[in-house]
C-alpha cells in the first residue's frame, strides 16, 4: 500500500497563535483516517491545510510523493465534505454533483453519467432535480458527499460532516460512510470531536490537543494503550490514580495507589505492566477504565487493601454506573454490566471491595 499523504514537520501560526506544532505522520492509501480532538486542538486547521484553504507556515505536505503545500485548493486532487455542506443553492442536486467535473472540463455526457452513478451510490437518484433547500439535512449531507466524490479525488476530507444530524441519523450515516469508503477505495480523512464516531469508523486515529499530535494508532490501541493522560481522558472515560512506583523489573513495576487525602490509606503494593521508561517514586498515574473495575461484597481479606463506600448508583439499562469513594480518598467511577436482571446490586452506603485486572490497567507518565 502506498502512502497517500505525508506530513513532515507541518506548523501553522496565526499571528502569535501556534495552531499546529511540528505535525508529522503518514496516511496510507485507502485508509479511513480520523483526526480527533476537542475544539481548538488544530484538527480543522490541519484539514484546511490539506484542502489548500490555508497555507502552511513551515513544513512539507506530500500527496503520493508530490509536494502540494503550495498548490491552491483548485489545483489539488482533494475534495472536501464541508461541515455545513455548502451546497450551491442555485443549482439542482444533479448540477451540484456535476460541478467539480464541469470545472475540470469533463464532457457533458460523461459528467451526467458520473453524477448519476454518484447519486445512485448515496441513494438519491429520485431527488436529482430538486434544489438543495428542498432536501432534509441527511439528504443534503449525501449530496455533499456525492459532489465531493464525483471528481474521484485522491483524498477526501470530511469536516465534522455528521455533527449537524440527529443521533439516529448520525449512527446510520456512520455505517454508510464506512461502506462508501470501502466501496470507492478513496482515502478518507475525517475530522471529529466525537470519540465514539472516531472509534466506530476509523482504521487509524490521530488524537490531537493544543496543536500537538498526542497519539496515533488504531481505535483499540488508542483506547487500550493511551500514551498519556490527555488521551486516556479524552477517549472514553477513565479513572486516574496517583501512583507511587516502589521498584520495577524488566516489564512490570510494583506500585501503590497513594492516599489522596489525609484520612485516606495507601493501597497494598501490586504489580502492573509498563511500556515506557518509568522512574521510581510518585512519578506516574494509573488509568483504569470504569468497566474494568470490579465491585464485590466487602470482606476483610482484601488483596489490594482497596475498599469503598457506594455513593451513587445509576441504573442505565445495559449497565449500572456506580460512583464509589475509595479508602484512599479518591472518587472512582465504576460501570458494571447488567448480565441478569436479578443480579445483586449494591445500594448507596454499601461497603464494597474494589478489584481490577492489572493487565487492563495502564501506567502513564505524568
Amino acid at each position: 500500500m502506498a502512502t497517500a499523504i505525508s506530513l513532515k514537520s507541518v506548523t501553522k501560526k496565526f499571528k502569535d497563535f501556534q495552531a499546529l506544532n511540528e505535525i508529522s505522520f503518514d496516511i496510507q492509501e485507502g485508509e479511513f483516517f480520523t483526526l480527533l480532538g476537542p475544539s481548538g486542538c488544530g484538527k480543522t486547521t490541519l484539514l484546511r491545510l490539506l484542502g489548500g484553504f490555508e497555507q502552511t507556515s513551515t513544513g512539507v505536505i506530500e500527496l503520493f510523493d508530490e509536494k502540494i503545500e503550495n498548490l491552491p485548493a483548485n489545483k489539488r486532487p482533494i475534495n472536501t465534505v464541508f461541515q455545513h455542506y455548502s451546497l450551491f443553492p442555485h443549482l439542482t442536486v444533479h448540477e451540484n454533483v456535476q460541478f467539480g467535473l464541469k470545472m475540470q472540463g469533463v464532457g457533458k455526457a460523461e459528467r451526467i453519467e458520473r453524477a448519476d452513478e454518484m447519486l445512485a451510490l448515496v441513494q438519491l437518484e429520485l431527488f436529482a432535480d430538486r434544489k438543495p433547500n428542498q432536501l432534509s439535512g441527511g439528504q443534503q449531507q449525501r449530496v455533499a458527499l456525492a459532489r465531493a466524490l464525483a471528481p474521484r479525488p485522491k483524498l477526501l476530507l470530511l469536516d465534522e460532516p455528521l455533527s449537524a444530524l440527529d443521533l439516529k441519523l448520525r449512527q446510520s450515516m456512520r455505517l454508510e460512510l464506512k461502506k462508501i469508503q470501502q466501496k470507492t477505495g478513496i482515502t478518507f480523512v475525517f475530522v471529529t470531536h466525537d470519540q465514539e464516531e472516531a472509534l466506530t469508523m476509523s482504521d487509524r486515529i490521530a488524537v490531537m490537543s493544543a496543536g500537538n499530535l498526542q497519539q496515533l494508532g488504531t481505535p483499540s490501541e488508542i483506547y487500550e494503550e493511551p500514551l498519556n493522560e490527555f488521551v486516556a481522558n479524552f477517549i472514553g472515560e477513565t479513572n486516574l490514580f496517583n501512583i507511587n512506583v516502589l521498584d520495577k523489573d524488566e516489564n512490570s513495576a510494583r506500585v501503590t495507589i497513594q492516599a489522596s487525602n489525609e484520612g485516606g490509606a495507601n493501597s497494598a503494593p501490586f504489580k502492573v505492566p509498563y511500556f515506557k521508561r518509568l522512574l521510581i517514586g510518585p512519578t506516574a498515574k494509573l488509568s483504569i477504565r470504569p468497566e474494568r473495575v470490579l465491585l464485590t461484597h466487602f470482606t476483610e481479606d482484601n488483596e489490594y487493601n482497596l475498599h469503598a463506600i457506594v455513593e451513587e448508583n445509576i441504573y442505565m439499562g445495559t449497565d449500572t454506573q456506580y460512583i464509589v469513594r475509595l479508602n484512599t480518598g479518591k472518587q472512582v467511577l465504576v460501570r458494571s454490566q447488567n448480565m441478569t436482571s436479578s443480579q445483586n446490586k449494591f445500594q448507596k452506603g454499601d461497603k464494597v471491595n474494589v478489584a481490577f485486572d492489572v493487565s487492563t490497567a495502564r501506567l502513564l507518565r505524568v
Binding site: 489548500g52 485548493a73 483548485n74 472536501t80 475540470q104
Partner: protein, 296 residues
Amino acid sequence: MLNKLKQIKEAPIRYGLVSPSLLMIGVFLLIPISIVFVYSFLQPGTYGGVEWTFSLDAYKQFLFEEDFITEELQFTSAYLEIFVRSFSQAAIATFFCFIIGFPTAYFIATRPIHTQSLWLFAITIPYWVNLLVRTIAMLFIIRDQGPLNEFLMYLNFIDTPIKLAYTPFAVSLGLFYSFLPFMVLPIYTALSRFDMSLLTAAHDLYASRWAALRHVLIPSVPHGIYAGCLLVFIPSIGAFIAPDLLGGGKQLMIGNLIALQFQGSRNWPFGAAAAIILLSFILITLLVFSLRKKGE
C-alpha cells in the same frame, strides 16, 4: 370560528394600515400619469398648456414630419435617434455601473460587519451634494484645461488635451457617476446574505477564481443584480442634466426632449406623448424580461 372572526376583524385594519400608501400612489402617481396620458391626445395651446380638442398629432409628430409646401407626412428619424441614443447611453451606463459596482459591493460585503456600514456611508457621501453641482464639477474635471487633461499632459501621455467634455463619452460618464450607488446598494444587500463559504466549496471543486465568480457568485445574487440594473437603467434613460451639461446640448436624450417641449417649445401634448412612448417602451421591456424569467 375564532379564526374566521379574526379574519373579518383583520381585513379593515389591514386596509386601514395600507391606505396611506394607496393614497400616495393614487394621488401622486396614477393621477399625474393619467393627466399626461390625456394631454398627449390634445392640441398644443399657443402659449403653452393645451387646447381641449382630440388629436393624434403629437404621436404622428414623433415619427413623421409635415412637408411645408405639400403638407404631406414624411417619415423622419430625428426623434427615433434620440430614443435609440437614450437607450444605448442608459445601457452603457448600466454596464459600467455593474462592472464597477459589483466589485465595490463585493468589497463592502466582505469587510468585517461593523465596518460595512461605514463603507456604505462613504459611498453615499458624494450624493449629499446636489446632482447639478456634481455634474458641473465633473465637467470641470474633464474639460480641455481641466485637471484630468493637465495631469495626463504633465505625465507626457498626451501632447494635446483629449476632447472629453461635450462628447457621448462625457454623457456616459455623467450617467455612470450619477447612478452608481443605485447599483452598489441592491447588490450589496444580496451579497451580504450570500454564504461566502460557497466560494470555498467552488474553489475546492476545481473552480478558478473567475469560474467561481461566473458559476457561483453571480448566479447566486440574480435579484440584486436585476434590481441594480433596473435602478440605474430606468433613471438613466430619462436623465436630462448629464446630457444637457456634459453633452453640451448636442447629445439630446429623451429627458431633454421632454423638458424642451414643456419649456422652450411649449408643445405640451408632444412632450406628454414622448413621455408616454418612453413609459410604454420601458414597461414592455420589463414585461418581456419578467416573462422570460418565469419561463425559466
